[in-house]
């Protein structure tokens, strides 16, 4: 079985498991929406203020809650499941790519739904919308690669579920800044290219790091 076939097998398995458990769509997604609802209650429901912070807040919520999506399979796996997966002979790098791909799909859905919630609650301005799908895609890719890698690093250690978000959050900063500034610079009449390129570079770095470290991490 080729590398990409193996990765596809892992992806389809993870997506079927998610479809059955509904953890992302029925728990994490509503949790993110509630967070968007809570903030105006804390800072005030001044419409112009909310319109100003809405976009940035959306990306911050995506980063903080999206990490839960990208780590769910790895941190929730038992030793017995890990053993059986290793004995299938599937390449560790293919497992990494497959898991990250499944997380990518779920993160795109997460971002799209939360984006609609943000538009409704915060009445964010509708400019530069052609860029939004690009940013959603890159952020989903970067966050899924980062979360899958971080979860593999922490693996079976103590406090794994709590530690992984702590590792992911600061490392996701390039994605966060890039996403927020790419849209804002359009409003200022500038080009978003530099920001988008930075995000793409970050994502590629994560992909390479994840693939290269997959096999050493499998043995930890």
């Amino acid at each position: 079985m080729g590398f990409f076939s193996q990765a596809r097998l892992i992806t389809s398995r993870d997506l079927v498991r998610e479809r059955r458990s509904g953890e992302v769509l029925w728990v994490t997604l509503p949790f993110g929406a509630i967070a968007l609802l809570l903030v105006p209650m804390a800072i005030g429901t001044d419409a112009p203020l909310l319109e100003q912070v809405g976009t940035g807040l959306f990306w911050a919520i995506v980063m903080l809650f999206g990490v839960l999506i990208s780590i769910r399979q790895t941190t929730g796996e038992t030793q017995a499941q890990r053993d059986q997966l290793a004995l299938t002979g599937i390449d560790a790098a293919a497992i990494y790519v497959g898991r990250a791909t499944a997380s990518f799909v779920l993160l795109v859905i997460f971002e799209v739904v939360l984006g609609l919630v943000t538009i409704v609650l915060y009445d964010v301005p509708v400019s530069g919308w052609w860029l939004v799908p690009i940013l959603i895609t890159i952020v989903a890719a970067g966050l899924s690669l980062l979360g899958t890698l971080a979860a593999s690093i922490v693996s079976t250690g103590r406090n794994a579920a709590a530690l992984v978000p702590l590792l992911v959050a600061p490392l996701s900063i390039p994605l966060l800044i890039g996403a927020t500034q790419a849209l804002e610079v359009l409003d200022l009449g500038g080009s978003s290219l530099a920001w988008v390129l930075m995000m793409i570079v970050s994502t590629l770095v994560l992909a390479v790091a994840g693939v290269l470290s997959a096999r050493p991490l499998q043995e930890i």
């Binding site: 498991r17 059955r20 030793q79 059986q84 004995l87 299938t88």
Partner: protein, 228 residues
């Protein structure tokens, strides 16, 4: 439920080898600075079924996981199916190893059938073998039940179905008779005999020495980190 037709289950040609299928030479396994296994020597030859017993915490499960190439020796050398445990070649033989641990490793959200189909796809085995294997272990009617809605015993049977389907050359069983009812305990014997008859090797860790003696050619006791 007795054996049914074995459609789709491949029968591999017998393994003919003078070299032990499992060869461990002065192998130690440490967790931190604590030895779990120390200077252990063990050979398991083609066609042989080895029973392993020992006290709780003696390192029996560690021995099995070592033979499954899931952990590396801290020192010493060993080979499984000719692949060194200290080199990357051990990844190449993993798909020929069947391991049933004492805790089931099924995905709870997937049905028994889907769990096996995942393994079948990874091994490039036709899905007809999945239905056959589940029938053989008496789970044909429960194949579409999610694993987390199956009892521990049912999950164990499903894991045996998995090894039936993959026909490993090295079979490693940890407390294989636990959680199995009277109908199913013979299943273990059948799987071991199939493996050894085709020239493979089997290692059974069990506290039930009497039960294991029905198929085991010899026994070893793990004590003080090594073979007593």
């Amino acid at each position: 439920m007795g054996p049914t037709t074995q459609r789709g289950i491949r029968t591999l040609p017998p393994v003919i080898s003078d070299e032990p299928l499992i060869h461990l030479a002065s192998v130690s396994v440490r967790a931190g600075a604590t030895h779990i296994l120390r200077d252990l020597d063990l050979d398991v030859r083609a066609g042989e079924a080895l029973g392993v017993h020992g006290a709780n915490g003696a390192g029996k499960t560690t021995l099995l996981r070592l033979a499954a190439t899931l952990i590396r020796p801290s020192s010493g050398s060993g080979t499984v199916l000719g692949a060194s445990l200290n080199s990357e070649s051990r990844y190449d033989v993993r798909h020929r190893i069947g391991y049933v641990g004492h805790v089931p490793g099924l995905y709870p959200e997937l049905t028994l059938r889907e769990n096996l189909e995942f393994t079948a796809d990874a091994h490039s085995i036709d899905h007809t073998a999945v239905a056959s294997a589940l029938d053989m272990v008496g789970l044909g009617a429960a194949s579409d039940r999610q694993a987390d809605r199956c009892s521990h015993g049912m999950q164990r049977r499903a894991e045996f179905a998995r090894v039936l389907m993959t026909t490993p050359a090295v079979l490693l069983l940890d407390e294989p008779h636990s959680a199995l009812d009277a109908d199913a305990v013979d299943l273990v014997d059948a799987i071991v005999e199939r493996t050894t008859a085709s020239g493979g090797a089997a290692v059974l860790v069990s506290h039930d020495r009497e039960r294991v003696s029905r198929v085991a050619d010899r026994f070893v006791e793990i004590s003080a980190g090594g073979v007593a």
